[in-house]
């Protein structure tokens, strides 16, 4: 069997110097907000206001009590912020690091990890919104919330392979970046973020189709525990299988293309 040794070694090399990934990620975030006094909290503030506004409007439209809808929307939007920027930025992970790639012979997965880490740092800032939302609607935290940690790790494992795959493909096919950008908008509406899946009438086509959306399962892994529930076995299974197949495919593509990436930049 074909064993992608060089590709795996490259990823191991990246993990051997995680502080370097941390440094590059921090550098990116700090660069972006260098001369601003509140820095990434600008993003948090605007996201908080968006959640509050959308919560009021769509809570009314969907006839859902705010106590139920607002925390759901908050987690969804915070996660979506990570998903959409991590995905679109992953497309440019190699292209934007081109000067570094052409100058240093560092493992290439480093540049993928850098983008992921950068977005995780922003996510950590945005999480601050959630406790405020809980406080506003008077919802008590519950022990199930702890489960969001393993859930998030599996969620992240899936975004790691997706980032690697997109980084490679977009370095080669530049049109893909535009395609992904426009797809993100559609995915946002097709995924239960603004609307609650259990509000779809039982047995309807919509309730059936939502199970085929892998992103729904990934988001549920983190969102359901935070709202005091337990993710379903299907949520876990789909996410695990997705991680397994995704990583296999990405490693095979990476093994084939890793040496070519520098040529495409």
């Amino acid at each position: 069997m074909f064993w992608p040794k060089a590709a795996i070694l490259d990823i191991i090399e990246t993990f051997k110097d995680l502080p370097l990934v941390g440094m590059l990620g921090w550098q990116d975030v700090r660069h972006r907000y260098k001369r601003s006094s509140v820095g990434p909290f600008w993003l948090t503030a605007s996201m908080g206001i968006m959640i509050a506004t959308m919560g009021m409007i769509f809570g009314k439209i969907f006839h859902t009590p705010l106590k139920e809808f607002l925390p759901f929307l908050a987690v969804g939007i915070i996660l979506w912020g990570f998903i959409s920027t991590a995905t679109t930025e992953a497309c440019a992970s190699f292209a934007l690091s081109a000067p570094l790639i052409k100058q240093h012979s560092l493992p290439l997965f480093l540049y993928v990890a850098r983008v992921l880490w950068r977005n995780m740092l922003v996510l950590v800032h945005n999480i601050a919104i959630f406790p405020i939302v809980l406080l506003c609607v008077g919802k008590m935290p519950s022990w199930e919330m702890v489960l969001c940690i393993p859930g998030f790790l599996l969620f992240l494992l899936n975004f790691a392979w997706l980032s690697l795959m997109l980084g490679i493909l977009c370095a080669r096919y530049r049109d893909l970046i535009q395609l992904i950008n426009s797809l993100m908008q559609i995915i946002f509406y097709a995924t239960p973020i603004m609307w609650m899946p259990d509000k779809l009438s039982q047995g309807s086509l919509g309730a059936y189709l939502v199970n085929f959306n892998p992103l729904y399962h990934l988001i549920s892994l983190v969102r359901t525990p935070l709202l005091g529930g337990l993710p379903t076995a299907t949520n876990w299974e789909v996410s695990l299988i997705l991680a397994l197949f995704g990583w296999t495919a990405s490693l095979l593509v990476y093994a084939r293309c890793r040496n070519r990436i520098a040529y495409w930049l």
Partner: protein
């Protein structure tokens, strides 16, 4: 006895370095070029590698074509050639950025590059931060960088500006910082694109001394150059590239005379 031990210790400081190129070729695919736009393919091009289109109409640039050489400890190699002859591409293969499209490049030893040393500088960050970023990217550990920070500050002679954002620096100051950091590492294989000449008269002298000792301590030096003086004083071998091929390889005097004579 003592003397023998000392010699042994100095000899042990660095591993053996070796570079072996066997039939190395580098082809760049150029995806957004139209093969029809390549007119008169038969006409000898004045510069660059050979351009070619494959069966599917995809344009390839042959940057390096069937390169063979072996470099051992003590080799001080000058790369000669006109613009686009493949010198920079060859240096990037040596820096393990490009893997040969065909053939094998066997490179043993820690590589240090003094090419485009000011690239990747972030103008929003201070000199200290930039020095740290760059040192880490060059493969130094966190503690190594922390320990050598004072030395970098001292050598670059930036004074209080060391803790100011780089956008407040002049070009010369930026180069001094980049030079101070980049020459911290002590590689077994040193890659350069022309001799570095940095800063004002005062700094130039300091830099020259540092660079000379770096070149002296490295096992293998590969330097792309257009300077006959450098070739004569520093190198003991010269490789002349033309259109991605080795035109001549040997004694710097002989190759230099042939190259600069033309």
């Amino acid at each position: 006895m003592l003397a023998a031990e000392t010699v042994l210790l100095i000899g042990c400081e660095k591993e053996m370095a070796l570079i072996e190129f066997k039939n190395v070729s580098i082809d760049f695919p150029i995806y957004n070029a139209n093969s029809r736009s390549i007119k008169n393919r038969l006409i000898q091009i004045a510069t660059g590698g050979r351009l070619d289109a494959d069966d599917q109409g995809l344009v390839h640039a042959h940057a390096l074509d069937n390169i063979n050489f072996t470099l051992k400890d003590g080799d001080r190699v000058a790369l000669l050639g006109h613009n686009g002859a493949g010198k920079s591409t060859l240096l990037r293969v040596l820096n393990r950025v490009y893997t040969p499209t065909s053939g094998t490049a066997n490179i043993k030893g820690k590589i240090g590059s003094l090419i485009e040393i000011s690239l990747g500088i972030d103008h929003e960050f201070t000199g200290r931060e930039n020095a740290y970023f760059r040192g880490r990217l060059l493969g130094m550990s966190k503690t190594q960088m922390m320990n050598s920070m004072d030395e970098i500050a001292d050598f670059s002679g930036l004074g209080d500006f060391f803790d100011m954002p780089l956008r407040t620096y002049s070009t010369g100051m930026q180069m001094r910082l980049a030079f101070a950091v980049s020459t911290m590492v002590s590689p077994e294989i040193l890659l350069m694109d022309e001799w570095l000449s940095v800063g004002d008269e005062n700094f130039k002298h300091k830099a020259e001394t540092r660079l000379k000792s770096l070149v002296k301590s490295t096992n293998i030096l590969v330097i792309a150059t257009h300077s006959p003086e450098l070739l004569e004083h520093t190198c003991n071998r010269a490789i002349w590239l033309e259109h991605g091929k080795i035109k001549m390889d040997g004694d710097p005097k002989v190759v230099g005379d042939a190259y600069f004579g033309t």
